[in-house]
């Protein structure tokens, strides 16, 4: 461990924190805590991006760090909180699988992601490349969360968390994407969030619940 500069250690720590938060979200039952965990993950992401920017002298990464901070720590959680308040959906989230099983599947996914990332790490030339496995793992964990949750809001949070993971992968493998791409993605996410917010209201109006299994029926009155 000696010989690795402090900032790299900090990035490793934040990467580990990101993974931890991904698992915490996977295990979380309450919607409000889920949103706060998502904000915390965004914060860890913004910190690690800023550290990479400082260590490699890439000015545009400061921009993406700031973007992450504004969008994922402030704006999106605020929108989600408002949605939860308006829809009055503070119930416990119920999963398709029970929590311990989900966690065990999560561990398998992490092992898979780490192995998957190993050959790619050889190709990347960045100093942060060893965190690529963690980025892959958090993408997959977010995906798992989308699969195992039944209600609409946790699924959307899973979607947003997946974007967190992708963003982290981009930072660790290639020091971030070009600014235009990043701005595009940020805008996409924001618009997706707004549209999904409208969808939530429509779904609830139709079915009196946000349980997505109602959407699987083709005919009414079954």
């Amino acid at each position: 461990m000696t010989g690795i500069p402090l900032w790299a250690q900090l990035i490793n720590l934040l990467a580990a924190l990101l993974l931890l938060l991904a698992f915490a979200m996977l295990a979380q039952r309450r919607v409000l805590t889920l949103i706060n965990l998502f904000a915390a993950q965004g914060f860890a992401l913004a910190c690690s991006t800023a550290i990479v920017a400082w260590a490699t002298d890439q000015a545009h990464l400061y921009g993406s760090a700031a973007l992450t901070l504004i969008l994922k720590v402030a704006l999106l959680p605020w929108l989600l909180h408002r949605l939860v308040r308006k829809l009055d959906v503070r119930w416990d989230v119920e999963g398709l699988l029970n929590i311990p099983t989900t966690m065990l599947v999560g561990i398998v996914l992490v092992v898979f992601a780490f192995n998957l990332a190993a050959p790619i790490e050889q190709l990347a030339s960045t100093i942060t490349r060893s965190t690529l496995g963690i980025a892959m793992a958090s993408v997959m964990l977010a995906f798992l969360m989308m699969i195992t949750r039944r209600k609409a809001i946790p699924q959307v949070i899973g979607f947003l968390a997946m974007e967190n993971g992708l963003f982290f992968a981009a930072t660790s493998a290639t020091y971030g994407m070009p600014m235009v791409v990043e701005l595009g993605i940020a805008l996409d996410i924001l618009v997706a969030m707004l549209i999904l917010g409208v969808f939530f209201f429509q779904i609830r109006e139709q079915f009196d619940s946000l349980d997505l299994k109602h959407l699987e029926k083709l005919k009414e009155g079954e």
């Binding site: 461990m1 490793n12 931890l20 999560g106 963690i134």
Partner: protein, 316 residues
């Protein structure tokens, strides 16, 4: 084994035996403060033990020898563990005698005896507590082993003194894997020491109790030894945690009596902070239903495994 090493070993054991009830008293006091209650005396555990030693023991007619020898076995196991854990110095004769895995085995031995003795009389409470204890134990032990393996991956040895020395000799570095392992270890310690998310140490008659249910039939000197042993268990777990994650201030190299006495104030400060943290955790969380325990300990296991994986991935 040299004479001075022997003296140091005895000294560490004596300090552990004396400090353990104090730690328990400190945790109880902190918890009372945090909950706005008037705090019991810091010395209350000592007084309880003395009071119990002065009473006449009552043993049920149909009790088998297992019931009688259990307090002595458990107390000796915990005292032996206190001698092995490098709480004050690394270079002690007993420290090299058993590694971390053997230590887990020692705790398991104590657990098995408590459970057997609880089932011995055939009372409903006793066997229920024994069942629950084994249930918690079988979930907690793998997690504890994984935590110890994570620490051994860093130092390349399962001997606790070697782990302490390796971490102390390196430059100060951030180990993400140790952070995972630390959280997992905290969760396991809470479960193993019958603390609040799993068991409530403040109750004596509740359907949900685990540890208290098993020792309900004991009195006088037997009970005193059990109480002392559970204080020692808390002390041991705290010292293992400190050795793995905060090994600063533990005497290294030559371990004569003066080095041991020099390391004692550091240990007391660390334990005081740890005890306060424990009281804080206990105040902030509510007791879980017993059926939620697998989830809690499953999470601990998962964190420990994650720590190992992160260690292998990042090499730190």
């Amino acid at each position: 084994m040299t004479v001075s090493g022997f003296i140091s070993q005895i000294l560490q054991l004596a300090i552990a035996l004396l400090l353990a009830p104090l730690l328990l008293g400190w945790v109880n006091q902190c918890r009372a403060w945090l909950q706005n209650k008037s705090a019991p005396s810091l010395l209350l555990p000592y007084r309880t033990i003395r009071k119990l030693f002065n009473k006449d023991a009552v043993v049920a007619e149909n009790a088998s020898p297992v019931f009688r020898i259990m307090p002595y076995v458990v107390f000796s196991a915990m005292a032996l563990a206190a001698a092995i854990v490098p709480s004050l110095a690394t270079d002690l004769p007993f420290g090299r005698a058993a590694d971390a895995i053997a230590l887990v085995g020692l705790f398991a031995l104590a657990r098995v005896f408590i459970a057997l003795a609880a089932m011995d009389l055939g009372t409903a409470f006793g066997s229920m507590g024994a069942r629950r204890e084994m249930f918690i134990g079988f979930l907690a032990e793998p997690a504890l082993l994984m935590v110890l393996f994570t620490a051994s991956l860093i130092s390349g040895s399962t001997l606790l003194p070697t782990i302490v020395e390796t971490i102390n000799q390196r430059d100060l570095a951030i180990y993400p894997s140790l952070a995972f392992a630390g959280v997992a270890f905290t969760m396991v310690s809470l479960a193993e020491n019958a603390r609040i998310p799993i068991d409530n140490p403040a109750t004596h008659l509740e359907l949900t109790m685990i540890h208290e249910a098993m020792i309900l039939e004991y009195s006088a000197r037997h009970l005193a030894l059990i109480e002392w042993a559970s204080a020692l268990k808390l002390f041991n777990y705290s010292c293992i945690g400190l050795a793995l994650f905060m090994p600063f201030g533990i005497a290294q190299g030559s371990a004569d009596a003066s080095a041991i006495l020099g390391a004692t104030p550091v240990l007391i400060v660390k334990l005081a902070v740890g005890g306060l943290a424990l009281a804080l955790i206990e105040t902030l969380s509510a007791k879980m239903r017993i059926f939620r325990a697998p989830e809690f300990l499953g999470t601990a296991f998962l964190l420990a495994v994650l720590g190992m994986l992160v260690n292998l991935l990042l090499g730190s």
